[in-house]
Every structure is written in structure tokens, then in C-alpha cells.
Symmetry: C2
Subunit: 208 residues, 2 copies
């Protein structure tokens, strides 16, 4: 288990990175955050969760980018510009939002081991860099195998009651923290920052 998952091992400033695989702006955040945190001397905790239950509590049965077309049209163009600026490949996935339960459960398994961040980046790269589906168990298995692991035992662990409960608990914790979108960043003293745009501000706060 890497050092970053044991908060007792270090007095370094810490930041929780809350992300959802369906979230478009979580893509550039996930691709940028590790080197920025390292440069800032901030220990990261990757916290995958799902936005569905949080959106439902706000009365939404879909992404606000689909519910509010002007906002959605803006987001896709903005993301395209942003990725060009960051030299990140960008391609819209065939459908939006993607189903993310299977990938998120695997992320929880992977983050307990030492391939979690690579898995998360691989999911985003496939979804928004290559514009491919990440919502099926087959797609998730394929991502796992590209990382050099056998998918079957991973998928079995991801289907365990313990992991299912962890994902529910993680999502409930996000809601308790006041998280309403992704990506979000929460400092050790409870400051919440929302959006890829605020990543630098969150890291600066964590270091204060």
C-alpha cells in the first residue's frame, strides 16, 4: 500500500481528491493532479464516488449538462479548449453520462493496492481521450488487462459486499461534506473546492 493512503505516515499537507468517472471536468483534473500535488508537497487521497444519488437528491435524474442544453453545449466546447491547452487528447464518448458503478468499484479495489491511480487515469483516457465506452463490465475488464492484471479476480473482488458498501459509504461521505459536483477537493481542515479550475487553489490552501 503506497504511503499516500496512510495518513499517519506523514505530517505533509493532505488533500482529498473526489472524482466521478462520468464527470467531464474530472478528466483534466485526474490527469493534472499527481504532478501538481507532488510539486506542492501535498499528499493526495483519491476518493472515487458516484454523483447519481447526489443529483437525485437535488431533483435531477440526469446530468445537468443534459438537462440544461446551453450549459451542456458550453461544457463540451470548454472541455475541448481546455484539453487542447493542456495537450490532452479529447474525444466525446458515444454516450453521456457513462454508467460508472463497475469502474468505480474496481477503482476502490485498485486504490487499496498499488495500481489505483493508473487505473483511474486509464479510465479517463479511454472515456474522454479516446471517446470510448467505460460503462460495461467488459470495458472495465479490458482496462484492467491493459494494466497487466488478470481482470477476473479483480472484478470478483469489486463485486464483494465490502466494496459495494464502501462505495455507498464514500458517496454518503461526499454528500455530508457538501459535495454537489465533481471534481471536488477537500483539505484536512474541511475546505471544499469545486472544479478543475480550483485545483491550484485547493493545493495552495492545503499547504497553508
Amino acid at each position: 500500500m503506497p504511503e499516500s493512503y496512510n495518513p499517519c505516515m506523514s505530517d505533509a499537507p493532505a488533500l482529498d481528491f473526489w472524482f466521478e468517472f462520468a464527470s467531464t471536468y474530472s478528466y483534466p483534473a485526474a490527469m493534472r493532479i499527481a504532478p501538481l500535488a507532488e510539486a506542492a508537497g501535498v499528499t493526495l487521497r483519491w476518493r472515487p464516488f458516484v454523483l447519481g444519488p447526489i443529483f437525485k437528491a437535488q431533483g435531477w435524474d440526469n446530468s445537468p449538462f443534459n438537462l440544461y442544453p446551453a450549459k451542456g453545449a458550453y461544457m463540451w466546447r470548454d472541455l475541448e479548449r481546455l484539453c487542447a491547452e493542456l495537450n490532452l487528447p479529447f474525444k466525446r464518448p458515444p454516450s453521456f453520462p457513462q454508467h460508472t458503478i463497475a469502474a468505480t468499484r474496481v477503482a476502490l479495489v485498485a486504490l487499496d493496492e498499488d495500481w489505483g491511480e493508473d487505473f483511474c487515469r486509464a479510465v479517463y483516457a479511454r472515456e474522454f481521450g479516446e471517446g470510448r465506452d467505460i460503462g460495461t463490465v467488459d470495458a472495465v475488464a479490458d482496462i484492467v488487462s491493459t494494466l497487466g492484471l488478470k481482470p477476473a479476480p479483480v472484478l470478483e473482488r469489486a463485486q464483494s459486499d465490502a466494496i459495494k458498501a464502501r462505495l455507498r459509504a464514500q458517496t454518503e461521505e461526499a454528500q455530508r461534506l457538501g459535495i454537489f459536483g465533481a471534481p471536488s477537493f477537500v483539505t484536512a481542515d474541511g475546505e471544499l473546492f469545486w472544479g478543475n479550475d480550483r485545483l491550484e487553489a485547493a493545493l495552495a490552501w492545503a499547504k497553508r
Copy 2:
């Protein structure tokens, strides 16, 4: 009429700054934009509009910050942090959102003359810097007089059919441009940027 309102007088890069007096994030944007645009060599056009009709078209009869409490709680805290970082005073107004029709009509009058930007900054400073109402005709008259002008003739011009029609046209234009929130920035080639956070990106695009 200042140079910035005549697009024919200069080949300088140009940017339209769309703002709504009730919009919280328009406050730091309005306070920051003039020196940043000058430093970037970008000619600004200040475009006041009202969000009410645009929100109504999305099915909202109130600010999303009131309709979605987690988002609202985050916004107030985020604005407080942001203003502290920018050394801008910050105090919540007694009610939110404020009624902005009277102030917006006066802004259109003022921007035709040479005191428009000062008026707009004075409205924001009073509303979010001092936490005072800006929604009544009396409050607007008071702001006008702090700028050394007699309020009565200004308010009369602001009530003219021409100005009322201009505000409606301005708001319809915002909607046609795909604007769904404030502040927004639109470049001469039609690129839309939304949010105080994207001001620098909008200026950089305008200069390309």
C-alpha cells in the same frame, strides 16, 4: 463616448464582458477586469444584462444558489475566500438575489456616457463589498449621487422606452450567444467563457 465603445476605432483585440448585478461571481470579475484587459491590450465592452428570463427558460424561478442549497453554501464560502485572496471587501447583502432592473437600466445610460464602469463597480462594491441593498430606485439614486451626478435626470433617462428596449435586446442577445450564467466573456470570434475563473483564459483567447 469612450474609445472602447466604438469597435471601428481600433484593431485591438476585443472582449465582451457580460455581467448581471445580482451575480456574486460577477463582483470579483468586475473589479478585476479593467486593469487585466489593459495589461493584455484587449478592448472591453461592458454588457449588462439580466439573468431572470434566461433562468426562467431553464425552469428556474430563483437563483440556482437558492434552489440547490449545497451549491449555494459552497458559493458563499468560495466567494469569501476569493475576495480575501484578491483583497476585496466582502459582505453578504441582506437578501439574495437582489432586484437588478433599475440598476441595470442606469448602467446602460452610464455606459453610453463616460461614467459607466465606475457606476458598475460602485454597484458591486455596495452590494457585495458593503453588503447593502442595490435593488431599490433609492439605492440606485444614492449610488449615482456618490459619483457626483444628479440622480433625477439619470433615473428619468433610465426609464425611457429606448433604454427598456435596449435591456430586453441585450438580454435576448446574451441568450442567443448561449450565455446561461454570469459573468460571461465573449470574444470577437464568438468563443464563450463562463465564470470569474475563466477571465484570464478569455483575455488570452481574445489576444490570439
